[in-house]
Subunit: 254 residues, 8 copies
């Protein structure tokens, strides 16, 4: 669109319909970033095939359904995170092909001719069963982003044999997402077992001095394994997004 | 002493030298706790053979030396913790038999006829070499309290094989003291490996979001291993004291 | 099970059915920790007779009941902590012999031929009546772990005679669990009265600058009594578990 | 002075030298607070005989000496708190009758015809010897404010007999200042022993999770003894000032 | 009671019915503090005429009513703080003469022959109308403790003329309780206006960076007026108790 | 009014009806601030035409309606902030001309002959749609204060082209209010784009380590753009008030 | 420069030397922001006459002097804040006309033909003498920015008459900067006295629970005066910059 | 080694020298993790060619030099981070080929036949010149890990044109490391400009409410750009390590 405007202007300059000095003024005042930046954004979406994402928390079911439907109409993939049952009911009434992942609280719509899971694999690891909703948000989102996911559940550090018995699955992973609440020690342990980046997700699981995930967050930021990075508390979505970004960017560099 | 005063008073009542109502008054006003409480304290020291302890931080070398000498004159064991080289120079000029443990910053004087290390063994574990001073404070103090100590050094969770290779030493321990800074994950891992109480000592090792030991402290308080308890940041002395107390109290119950 | 796999492999080596170099490869890749670590875990449970524990918070009544029933079917003791009335209703419909301790919010099932209370005694002390639920969680759990418990209630430091009048019960205790909210001063006072380890449990009782138990937690971590260790806020279960661990470990060392 | 200005104006109105409307304007613009408020301040100082106080921290020795000398010249009592040896050297060179209280870090000058210690007595209690400088600041300042002080030292709650043996001194006190670091439990215990207000002073004594006095501060704010109030960390001066204020105000109400 | 036991023992010693050595043993084991400390407590209640106080928060209406009735039966004054409408309904069904102060959330029962308001006066000041419930808790409790109260409402520092116009009432006060949320600046301003102790009560009024009263609490602890002390957030009861204690203790010293 | 009292007194002095010394006493005791300060307040309202503002949070709908009606009766403009639907229902039943701004949660009543929007313009910018309620509170309040407002919505820094495309609107603004939650980065970016003061409003939008707006608040306080100032979390009202004050004060100085 | 490039391109299009599609590509890739944004920046500096500012903290004296000299060579005004004596010595050796404001720690160089102080006046108020360096930084910087400044010193809220006596100076101010440490109450009080925006600067003055300026910062953010905004702790420079920005922006709107 | 032991055992089983049941026992007790885990570690180092890293902070120059020399003797690459000039002097005296990067405080030794920079490129971006040491630590470490680095300096968000003019360099980056102190807003802005993972490094640059990097840390954790992850404050090393890990793991998946 913007591109067309530019083309028209240039044609007018060529044809003499607009003087170069007038054109110069127009270009100097051009809200270029609308064109330029949006183009980049557009390019990125096209190249990466990333679905658009709705953060459903704090929106009414009707709002979520309306936005979802509009995005679906544009034909690409759509995701809504932090979506409860009511939001799901509203969405499915409007968009037939949408799917609901209840534990992950994610509503998704795949592109019609979406590629298979062609990136990864990654592992999504969680310390306890209470961390599962966050881990599932990460796993489901990663799959919508085209990443193959291996789920490893309930492998907290108090019983090391549980995580140690998963070393083969971990060894295959190109990136590992580790979700843990309480003391948040699992990323450090996993970080020592793999030759891949570890994306740590502190969860709000715990009580008392867990302070809503603060203990796990601080633990992960201070990890003695140097291959650990951290995202916000309960941010399974962000971890999946970063993992997909890593795989795509890494693929480019090969 | 106090006991004698009481005995005298009762004799005086018996002989009629003091009326019962006067005795009643005296007893009601008796600073009983001086007798009673001090006696308990005295009993405890006698029974446990615990040395008296000086916290040297914030005292001048002269003050440390003076207190140390007075305690030594009473004939029992003496300990000074958080004692630097200057305090040690001051003490050794006054008390010939004292010994200095530089890394632990502990000055000690053993009882002349002290029992051998008859309690334990315990293990004192530390995550990294930077945690060593705290671990040594724990180990040295425990030994002065009659506990046999097995030292396990530099076994942080980023390389699990290091702690796993120490399982035999851990299995023998009646209690385990674990010192760790940064994310403080080691106590949870050790807690899962042993059938003994774990006393976790967060250390101030780390930087940035370690916040002077706060991250490790919160991590340990939220340990997913239920056999973990926690003492103050850098409090190696307290951990050793509690471990000795456990072993003595446990011995009583056998 | 795993053991059988190993035995089979060795027999095959002996019989020549598998070459030593092939066996070597298999052993090198063996997920040994499944065997080894699980065995240790198994050993520990057998040796200590510890019941399995379900943390009911955040689980549906149905989930708690289902897990409880499965564990009960295996014949050992079972505990569920932080269990409300609804969880209890779900469990008792499935497991006839289960018992509910409403104040402690603990559901328990004793082993059929469980030993009597053969460890301890310990004292469970609480500062105010509001701290009772946490104290009862500790007391009930300790009893399920085979520990004899002496309960001492409402002995806050603002009226010292209350705790002083309990000195005999305290003197007998092999370990003392002290639950207190607000300023959390009771463990320091009790620590000075006994020659046993004190496990301090900060509670979330209080308001304003109590900050959900933070004030009590910090107070206990800074206790001037060196025989005090600390567990997480409201963690009555953990305190009982540590106390039982101490007594067992101590018994071994006798 | 100001009063005179007002009187003059009114006389001028009466004599017709100033019209009422002009006087009205003058009165409306009158910086009354200069008169009124300053008068109150003046009255307060006169009535209470309170010395003027210099907070020496962050001032050069020369500045402290200069301000001290000027105040001394006006003939009343003067106090400088948080004053080190250098400030003292500077002051004594200028004001002959000044006295230095090294432990309390207070420089004082008594009024020539100052009343004897006619208020109180109060007790100034400190938990450990490290709290002594703060306690001495409180005690010395209280004495300069005309209050009789009974010092009670090293009576921390880990050895209750120490504070219990001081009950007589405590019983006589009209107010009790309690200085304590670490867990700050002593004010609660003292609060339960006396029928007088307790002014709690948290000190920065401690390490690790003491967080520079925060643990003691929170503990004292959450005291289970309802007769406890709190001042800032290490604020011995403030505690003494409040105690004096209480005694004076109380005296008025008798 | 206890006293009688002692008297009997002494008579038995005198008469020879008990040997002095047996008596010595009994005395050494005597739970003296039961006698001694309880006596003090008893004395204090008698001397001060303080009603017993129930903290109703976290208790069921039935529990509050039951405790209230029992205390009322003993004939003295009774107070329940933090009591909602339901607790009040339960209490009034059991204790006819009880009164409810809805804004203050206090239930009270006066002693039949209670003295008139013979102490004070004090002023209870609050910054905004939202602080009123805390201020009323302070005012009502103070009145039950025999203190005459002058209420000063809605005099926040953003409109100084409001507090300045109350200077006469403030000047008469023997102590001033100041309740303020948000930035908590009012106690400093009041502290500069009066020659009496100021008891500052931070309230949880505010939002955002008020952090539930933390901003007001820190402000009050750092007051530049030296006659300010602080109690816990929303602790109107404590402020009233301390004020009453001051007046009584002050009266003694006159 | 007060002025009349003064005038009368002065006339009486002039006429001799009141002696100068009596007048002096009256003037010395005069609650001058009632006159003086209230006059200033009155002047300010008159001069600025600022409506009176009711903070509705924590008040019952009836209370809000009652206060609103009384203020409306006095004939000026009235505002109620943080007002929900129930408060609105109560107000509109009493004050016909009131208007409700649902998203902003503001109830307003314009002065009958109110000036048009004669100040500004300012821009009110918000980072995301979740920040809209706070931004609308700011925008609506500013308009009631006579300021022309340009709304710029959903221009978070993750897509710079959105804010860059609004540079013309920003360039016209005499002041910019920027509302942002999460990391709160938008004010810094806007600050670099404009030659006007930026008033940053952190919002409580976010989760986890957003800590209820703390992350945004700290970010804004540390802004690398020197033209940024900050108000409390979610304080749209305050930002609008400050902006209006700036424009009025600036206008004066021209 | 950039403009020329554009002009050239357009001429080439016109002359047919570049095809419109090639020109379109070039325009789409144009690093427009280099031209556009920098131009805006340039415009802003020219229009406002703002000096360039060096933050000297963390730079060596040589670095400060070198940057200062280069800026001075370009002929405009220059400021260096947080500059100690050593930085000053280095600067004055290189730039003869520079001036040093020791208390403010500001080095300045005025433009040769700088306008007189043509904006304002503003008032810079500080609560205590310890806040003076921060207040002086604000005052000196404001003067370099062309603002007339009225200094009001040592008017803390504990003695209200001090600030009340300055009401005339305050009333003239178009904006007021208030610097205060400890409880930070002064901005609320000043905010109530003036009809102008108040820029509050919390200072790190204080000890204990002042927590390095946190208490003052929170107090100011929660000010009950709605015309108060806040900048970072000790950020006198920022406050002055914002005040100047307000006055310039306000002037535009007149 | 360990492998040999296993081989021997298997041969003995085959030859009948050891019974299968005895072999089973030996295998069950085998400290397998020594072999297995260490082998993995070894493999990882071989495969990735990662140098060994010494954290020099808290070690004496002699200790750093000694460890460095030993590692160098083994022939591989070596890195020491947080190394000051004294550590460098000690190292260069022992290891001739070592190099010092003063700004980054890194001492490095390249492998003799090290590969060229074959991974990447990545961009290392820093907000201000004060963040340079952290950014250089990241850049230098990344280069030692075989990653090509593009440095982008001083592009803080207050002047957007600076970062926007670097879009080409950013677009080429496979991963972007962003170092920023103060409000830490730069990663969000960069995150919106690139289709690559952003590793955010909060720095301790700033003062007042920056709280040693906490403000930047919280800002980054709450980034509205979903491709942002975070490491500890000032942890340039960790960011580089993660970036290298990403590129290697990504390369594998291509």
């Amino acid at each position: 669109m913007k591109r067309e405007v530019l083309a028209e202007l240039l044609e007018a300059v060529k044809s003499g319909g607009v003087s170069t000095s007038d054109a110069l003024e127009q270009l100097a005042r051009l809200p270029y970033e609308d064109a330029g930046m949006a183009k980049i954004d557009h390019h990125r979406t096209l190249r990466l095939g990333l679905p658009e994402v709705i953060y459903a928390e704090g929106k009414t079911p009707e709002q979520v359904a309306e936005i979802f439907r509009r995005m679906a109409d544009r034909g690409g993939a759509v995701l809504a995170t932090r979506a409860g049952a009511e939001a799901w009911n509203a969405v499915k009434a409007q968009v037939q092909d949408a799917e609901y992942h209840a534990l992950a609280r994610v509503i998704g719509l795949r592109e019609r001719h979406a590629a298979t899971l062609h990136l990864g694999p990654i592992a999504v690891v969680c310390a306890g069963t209470s961390d599962l909703p966050v881990a599932e948000e990460a796993a489901v989102v990663a799959e919508y982003l085209g990443v193959k996911v291996s789920r490893i559940v309930d492998v907290g550090v108090a019983g090391l044999h549980r995580i140690l018995s998963q070393r083969e699955a971990l060894a295959e992973a190109r990136a590992v997402i580790v979700c843990a609440g309480m003391e948040g020690a699992l990323p450090s342990v996993v970080g020592g077992l793999v030759a891949a980046p570890v994306i740590a997700v502190p969860t709000s699981v715990g009580y008392g001095a867990a302070f809503g995930g603060l203990a796990a967050l601080l633990g992960m930021l201070n990890s003695c394994s140097p291959n650990v990075t951290v995202v916000n508390i309960d941010n399974g979505f962000g971890a999946a997004y970063v993992a997909a970004m890593m795989l795509r960017a890494g693929a480019k560099s090969a």
